[in-house]
Amino acid sequence: MDDLTIIGNGITGTTVARHVRKRSSRPITVISSEYPYLFSRPALMYVYMGHMRFEHTKPYEDWFWEKNEIMRLFDHVESIDTDRKMLRLRQGGERPYGTLVIATGATTQKFGWPGQDLPGVQGLVSKQDLDLMEENTRHVRRAVIVGGGLIGIEMAEMLTTRNIPVTFLVREEFYWDNILPKEEARMITRHVYEHGIELRLSTQLKEILPGPDGRVRAVITDKGENIACEFVGVTTGVRPLIDAVKGSKIEANRGILVNEYLETNVADVYAAGDCAEFRTPRPRHPKVEQLWYTGRMQAEALARTLCGDRTAYDRGIWFNSAKFFDIEYQTYGFVSNIPLPDENSLFWEHEDHKHSIRIVYLAKSEEVIGFNLLGVRYRQDVCRRWIQEKRTVRYVLEHLGEANFDPEFFGEMEPAVVEAFNRQSPYSQVRLRRRRGVTNLTQA
């Protein structure tokens, strides 16, 4: 039977393997030079913080892969010859493949700063990065983090648990305000300060300076500030890791180019996850999706295709979530950082600046298109259904309690949200009819 080779055993590669295995008994080999077993990449931070051991980040016990006959090969793919259907491995020489899935993920994006490759300067993507960070931060008196995204704030949290003072350079006016609307970005910015982080907003890195020992000694910002530090975390985004396809006939731009079926330009070669780039993404969809969820969903679609049921990748109603120190973030549907002209936005923020709810809807039809939540949990199924069914903001507000997913006894914020709406539109009052509860959820 046709053999399936997967390069990369992150969430994308292993999800392809698991779902193909559910549907077929064909031989499956997963090649990785990172670690022999799947681990949760977003959980690496918790290992550094001492919340978990690395072992705990493995979603499956080690016997799982043998039992499901998913062979693992600890090696590195140097190049791919699609004519001969052959991989060149760093250690294992040449290895043929039948069908190939490239799920090599991403790596730290650097922008050519002087000194960016000095010892003590690093990103945080792989297990090797985690081990390196453990090493690099051992005797550090101050760390500088460059780039105000999700990995940046996670790195800041990690370092504070080791009592290492952090200076956080953020290009934007407020933390992550290229994604978050200004109000939410302000809340998180405030929370970052609360944790003792030295934020440098609207500030970019210019240069990293070496010390006499050849390690990083200081950084210089575009505002001319010289910050002494022994560690620099580079978190200005990640770029697809596509070294394996260089020199092959597989087309790549930033990432490996694929169509909606995750097929590359070469027959029997597919790419998915952080390393893939869509040739023609749908409107308001990015070309490269680099999230845990999208990797998993792409893999599920691809596994169907590989088992003969050619399935286009469709991520459905958008969702994402994160945690900024103590504040959880969930988003459903479309919420732009700057509202589009035809959109209205209802925003309510708790006076403690740690909880907020935003509902975005179209001005004309009043249909809800997105939710943004900080410090409050909402049900994905309910929000998705409302967006899919094009429910109006009034309907959503009346039933808002149905979406609340906070634990029992937590204060309910929905009455305040409805009140905020009624203040905005005093001529047509909305009354909250549904409180929190699961009784009506069976149709979800």
């Binding site: 949760s40 913080m49 001492g50 919340h51 290492i164 969820y293 906070d406």
Partner: protein, 445 residues
């Protein structure tokens, strides 16, 4: 002490040198000192120094240790903004099976061995609690009063720690208040007060089969024969709790109404045991062992109970020796060794719920009801799991919560005690403890 900077322009943290062990601050250090002093006094009393002045030494030992514990715990409120702070737990010598963990484990285990089989060695400690026992019960203390005092203080002091740790979670606060209330009131003060009134020192929060005696002929008959109606009420209460309240409450709320809200064993696990919850074994093998053991204990206690009643009806003619043998072996193996020595003594080695998970027959019954006939479930919120493993790691019952969460499945497991910590530690808001219609609650993807 770490500094919280609320003013963005402040540069205070620049002056902080990195500390692998941050300065504890005066209050916390004093707390530790007092706690140490209290322990020291406990050992000093073993020399006989406390003879004649038990009250003084009671205050110097139990009193100082408790006050010290609180002084250490309460300032933590100011150290960090509220939120999950499991920082450095797996670097800790106490909480990650390091040297201190083993020492604590041996001390706990040793204490139980002395308590059950060599109480005379604890005589001087028992005498320390005489003044308290005199006030509460109107009689001198015995080893069980000493144990109850330790137990209750542990739940109260470590309960305060839970309040500090979970000051952002009302579910955890209310649940902790509940176990503190039931321990202090129903498992300590009320039984003592009943004894003061010459009534049976009855525990209204322990029922058959966790406390099998509640429905064994010996206790039942002596309660029924007790002058006044209270003894009969107690028998009635025990039977109603076992046969009516247990299934009804479990149907509505799941097993948690008892295991993590009322039960004393659960109360200790959720407070004193909380620093060790991450040590439970999450492997499939452990789950297999758990199922064999816990249902074996349930069968054991049920057979023993039936034998005892059979023997009682037959006037002791047929099953006398056999049923008594079962009863005393059950008391020794399950009541003492399993629930005490291993159940609590092994906290720092196997996590806080060893007894509840592998042994408790009450948990077995509640678990069957929860699995088959309950509105309770842990709901998984769509596809948002990132498989990080915090939920599984901090599940004291060793449930691999992530296994279900990452598939988008609800979690319905017999062993889940509904502590809610998986939901608290989830960094993506994926898990929630809920009661709802039984239809569709499994939500299999």
């Amino acid at each position: 002490m770490s500094t919280i900077i609320l003013n963005p322009s402040s540069n205070v943290s620049l002056s902080l040198a990195p500390h692998p062990h941050p300065n504890l601050g005066t209050v916390k250090k004093s707390g530790l000192a007092l706690f140490g002093l209290g322990l020291l006094m406990l050992f000093v009393s073993l020399t006989g120094a406390s003879d004649g002045t038990p009250l003084l030494f009671l205050l110097l030992s139990f009193g100082l240790a408790s006050a010290g514990g609180l002084l250490y715990i309460l300032p933590q409120i100011r150290e960090n903004p509220p939120g999950i702070k499991h920082n450095s737990i797996f670097f800790s010598a106490a909480m990650a099976r390091g040297a201190i963990g083993w020492i604590i484990g041996i001390c706990f285990t040793g204490f139980y061995v002395l308590l059950y089989w060599f109480p005379e060695l604890l005589t001087r400690w028992i005498r320390l609690t005489d003044p308290l026992s005199a006030v509460l019960r109107g009689r001198p203390a015995d080893q069980w009063f000493l144990y109850g005092t330790f137990y209750t203080l542990a739940i109260l002091v470590m309960g305060a720690r839970m309040f500090v740790k979970y000051r952002h979670s009302r579910y955890q606060q209310i649940r902790t208040a509940s176990v503190m209330f039931f321990q202090l009131g129903f498992a300590f003060l009320i039984p003592a007060w009943l004894e003061l009134l010459n009534q049976p020192g009855f525990y209204f929060t322990y029922f058959w089969p966790l406390r099998p005696y509640s429905l064994w002929p010996g206790d039942v008959q002596s309660l029924m024969n007790h002058p006044g109606g209270l003894g009969i009420f107690m028998v009635f209460w025990g039977a109603v709790m076992t046969f009516v309240a247990t299934p009804v409450l479990t149907y509505f709320f799941g097993k948690r109404w008892y295991c993590s809200w009322v039960c004393g064993c659960g109360g200790l696990a959720e407070t004193l045991g909380d620093p060790f919850r991450q040590l439970s074994d999450k492997s499939l093998t452990a789950w297999r062992v758990e199922r064999v053991l816990i249902y074996s204990v349930l069968v054991f206690v049920t057979v023993t109970t039936l034998l005892l009643w059979g023997n009682s009806y037959s006037g002791g003619a047929v099953l006398g020796g056999l049923s008594q043998g079962f009863a005393s072996w059950y008391g020794f193996l399950i009541g003492s060794v399993f629930s005490g020595v291993i159940g609590t003594g092994f906290y720092p080695i196997m996590g806080s719920r060893v007894w509840c998970r592998f042994g408790c027959p009450m948990a077995a019954i509640l678990g069957i009801l929860q699995r088959k006939f309950s509105r309770f479930r842990i709901t998984t919120n769509g596809g948002q799991c990132i498989s990080c493993g915090n939920c599984s790691t901090y599940c004291e019952m060793g449930i691999d919560v992530r296994w279900y969460a990452q598939r988008g499945q609800n979690i319905i497991r017999a062993s889940c005690v509904g502590c809610g910590v998986c939901s608290s530690v989830c960094p993506r808001g994926v898990l929630n403890l809920e009661n709802g219609p039984m239809k569709g609650r499994y939500n299999l993807g």
